[in-house]
Amino acid sequence: MGQLELAGVSRRFAGVEAVRNLSMTVESGRITGLIGPNGAGKTTVVNLVTGLLKLTSGRIRLDRQDIGERPPHEVARLGIARTFQNIRLLKEASVIDNIVVGFHRSDPTSFVAQTLGLPSVRRTRAGLEQRAHELLRDFAMDEYAQCLAGELSYGHQRRVEIMRALAVDPQVLLLDEPVSGMNDVEAAELGAMFRRFAERELAVLVIEHNMQLVMTLCDELYVLESGELIAHGPPEQVRNDARVVEAYLGGELC
């Protein structure tokens, strides 16, 4: 039920191994954290899972089903959604249009109906817009529905990206630095939302540098350094792991 499993996953780029022999599990109902210094390969992992990069070796399974060879749009249709490290919204589109695009998977209208402009199209679209508004209300951003996505503040753009990912109706949610650039208050607010997602049985993976958030929020941590897994376990355990401390060069893990 929404369990994402990586086994011996590796990815090589022209002689450099960005990820080496990584095995990890993202369970539904829990928030899993993936942390590590810059360049450790965290985003590469997300790109591998979502099919944007090809596996050099290893397997990726969703609920026991092998998805390692699937193209990205199929992976998304199986219920894996993600956000991006540098926010990638469709800047020319409105906030609500950005979210509605995420509902692509839930739109069953036939090609013929769409070509002929049958009433079912308008009804479906209206329904999806409703759902988008509900999401916006959950995130307290309903007034921004018609704004151009490019004009929003950084924090709001991040939220729109998260809403778009939720629109996909995923079982697994991969968040790549979702609170970067936010102050502690905003970060905590989003953290609470992630907890709610987990409570709704989503499998949530959070990549983050904000240690305070990571330590309080995550049920389980994986630590990556230079593409290799160097520690794994609950936050208190990982925080005291010698290798982890060294990897961060004595920086605070608070």
Binding site: T50, L52, P71, P72, H73, A76, R77, A81, R82, F84, I87, R88, L90, K91, E92, A93, S94, D97, V100, V101, G102, H104, R105, D107, T109, F111, A113, Q114, T115, L116, G117, V121, R122, T124, R125, E143, Y144, Q146, C147, L148, G150, E151, L152, S153, Y154, G155, H156, Q157, R164, A167, V168, G181
Partner: protein, 297 residues
């Protein structure tokens, strides 16, 4: 009176045909494919209809249907290799494709009449059919714009990586865009054949390629009205003054340069964006003050 009408009638015919070509070019650009295969696909449609009509007793309906089928089929086949390329290289590949079609048309003299083309095609269609065709294409494209497919096209065009992570099949949608483009170009080409009563290979060469691009660049690549506006304006412009008609190259060239540098979204899209800005400015005026963009965006 009738000569005045027929004078304008032929201009209207020309506008409608050019709108068809512009819409065919627009569809692929809208879906983020940099293909300029429209003239080649139109020539395939024109030859198909011409050959069908000249060699059999079939009427215009059969000819148009055959042209649509050929245009769609060739476009879909073309989309397969093109799916593996991106941007500029798609453009180069489609230019290569156009040259191949042109040289094959010149070579297969028995079938296509070679350099002389096909002649003596009966005039089976009139302004009414052209109007119906243009209206039908516009209707279908507007319907698609408002449906899932249209949203998917826009997403793929703006950021293909994002589109794909949302479950949108980029290859599937771009193949669809090609198919639509091929069908529209094929039928429009066939209509040109019936309208001009001939098919000449040089009609569908680099000149048409540039002109059709100019329609879409001038009018806009995003909304369906864009190519219509562009095609109408550029078709009517030479009719307004003799010097404009003699210096067609400069007019098209200047339009392309000036528009892409100073009005990059095209006339219609620029107007739509301005309208939208004003509408959202009103909405934003009522929002909390600190919500204006600050961080890295």
């Amino acid at each position: 009176m009738t000569s005045w009408l027929s004078g304008y009638g032929s201009v209207l015919d020309l506008v409608l045909l050019n709108c068809g070509l512009a819409l065919s070019q627009f569809v692929v650009l809208r879906a983020g494919v940099f293909s300029v295969a429209t003239p080649a696909l139109a020539s395939i449609g024109a030859y198909t209809a011409g050959i069908v009509t000249l060699r059999t007793d079939a009427g215009a309906g059969t000819g148009l249907l055959a042209a649509a089928a050929m245009g769609t089929a060739v476009a879909v086949i073309l989309s397969v290799p093109l799916a593996r390329l991106r941007g500029v290289f798609q453009a180069i590949a489609t230019v290569a494709f156009s040259q191949i079609v042109l040289s094959l048309a010149l070579y297969a003299t028995d079938l296509t009449g070679g350099a002389n083309g096909l002649n003596g095609i009966p005039r089976l269609i009139g302004t009414t059919q052209l109007l119906l065709w243009a209206a039908a294409v516009v209707y279908v494209l507007i319907c698609l714009s408002r449906a899932r497919i249209g949203y998917a096209f826009d997403a793929i065009r703006q950021d293909e990586t994002v589109a794909v992570t949302l479950g949108i099949s980029a290859v599937g949608h771009q193949t669809l865009a090609f198919a639509l483009s091929g069908a529209i170009a094929g039928v429009t080409g066939a209509l040109m054949a019936y309208h001009n009563r001939s098919v000449a290979p040089e009609e569908f060469g680099f000149g048409m390629l540039v002109t059709v691009l100019a329609y879409v660049v001038l009018g806009g690549r995003r909304s369906v009205l864009g190519p219509l506006a562009g095609a109408t304006l550029l078709t009517l412009l030479p009719e307004l003054a003799r010097p404009l008609s003699d210096n067609r190259l400069i007019v098209h060239g200047a339009v392309l340069m000036l528009v892409i540098i100073y009005l990059p979204h095209g006339i219609v899209d620029t107007l739509l964006i301005a309208y939208r800005r004003r509408a959202t400015a009103a909405a934003r005026a009522s929002l909390p003050i600190d919500e204006v963009s600050d961080g890295p965006a």
